[in-house]
Point group: C2
Chain length 231, copies 2
């Protein structure tokens, strides 16, 4: 009879595996939801594009590895990021067995280090016009999008894709881009003003219209009072 598992934990003899993190870096620009990808200049799958990845080293928390990879590519710190899924088919990477854990990051396109990104041959693509991706990276994008859609409906995470001050038309376009559907302007604003964590400032942004739209900011305190969010 076999021994219980936990007694089998002859740790040192257990096979070890290469573990990677792949980051789905989302940005919002001129009404488009975009994803940051790097060009793959070598075989196999040369000239396809790939998510930004890196390997996890032994004394590093998995989450920290994802933050490191993000920082190395964009120079950004303090970014909203969450784990999406672990992809572990034995043959998902034809070169060697690699388990990849994906993370979804919402970054402010205006903040990242453009130099750095260019030096990595990285490029932003609108989410609905992605190039061919390597391996199972399209599946990763799908999984991250499903989660992002759910998240923005149930929590105040979308604001991470907008600057501190933003207008309601901007916010609505962001939601439309993420959810992939038109939203009724009046109903959208009604919901937002019901949960009252948006503060209207005495400033207008005239860059996108003649009339100008009021700027708002998200008030974390007020949100924490009720912790309710539903779009």
């Amino acid at each position: 009879m076999q021994k219980p598992f936990q007694i089998n934990r002859a740790y040192k003899e257990v096979q070890q595996i290469t573990v990677a993190v792949d980051c789905l870096i989302f940005g919002f620009n001129q009404g488009n939801l975009e994803l940051l990808l790097v060009h793959r200049g070598f075989e196999p799958e040369r000239d396809k594009w790939s998510l930004i990845g890196g390997f996890v080293v032994n004394d590093e928390d998995l989450d920290d590895a994802a933050y490191r990879v993000l920082r190395e590519l964009t120079g950004l710190e303090d970014v909203y990021m969450e784990q999406v899924h672990a992809f572990g088919k034995a043959d998902r990477d034809p070169y060697e067995r690699v388990i990849s854990v994906t993370y979804s990051a919402l970054v402010l396109k205006e903040n990242y280090d453009d130099e750095l990104v260019r030096s990595y041959k990285a490029q932003w693509f609108p989410i609905d016009a992605l190039p061919q991706l390597i391996f199972d990276h399209e599946e990763m994008v799908e999984a991250a999008m499903r989660r992002l859609r759910r998240r923005v409906k149930t929590g105040p995470v979308g604001f991470n894709l907008l600057p501190e001050k933003f207008t309601l038309p901007q916010l609505q376009r962001l939601y439309e881009a993420i959810l992939g559907e038109k939203i009724d302007k009046r109903n959208f604003r009604k919901k937002l003003s019901a949960m009252n964590f948006l503060i209207r400032l005495d400033e207008k942004d005239k860059s996108e219209s003649k009339k100008g739209a009021f700027l708002y900011r998200f008030d974390e305190e007020k949100y924490n009072d009720v912790k309710h969010f539903s779009i």
Copy 2:
């Protein structure tokens, strides 16, 4: 200047890490949602309890590793199982660095191999009366419960915890156990009969009441017609 990541993929030199899967095996028994745990008979954390785990070997899909671990402990095949989360703090296992990917399984308690389970010193515990667990396993339970609650509200996965034929009172008790709250009988049944994928059989189960309750079965075909579920 650093080279782009993907060009750094000197795979062979990358540090490798022990990867485990831990299974949250849920069962439903006499109105209680239960979790199958194994007793840990050795240090560190001797006499605490732990999820059922095992290590991923190199030519094995991550999902397959989880199925293997489940099968080895319970003898069950064809079980509903889904990945929950990858736990990767560098020091989560004090003995060695192990990344653990958790999977949530919904099993039919009447089907599993009792002999096998006992031989592993495994035991079922009601979800609201768990013993002390090792490492970060309580966090794993929390994560799996959150997901299970969401899943049973939005999809027909709860039926995996009941036999082929079941009564509505049983189903309701299952939902109450998972969601941790009382449910109104009439509203519950109204929702179920609105989505009409439950077939009432001409049999009653009299084991739990004098009057007896009609047996139902879940009709997958009918569910697939509309693919709508909401409790």
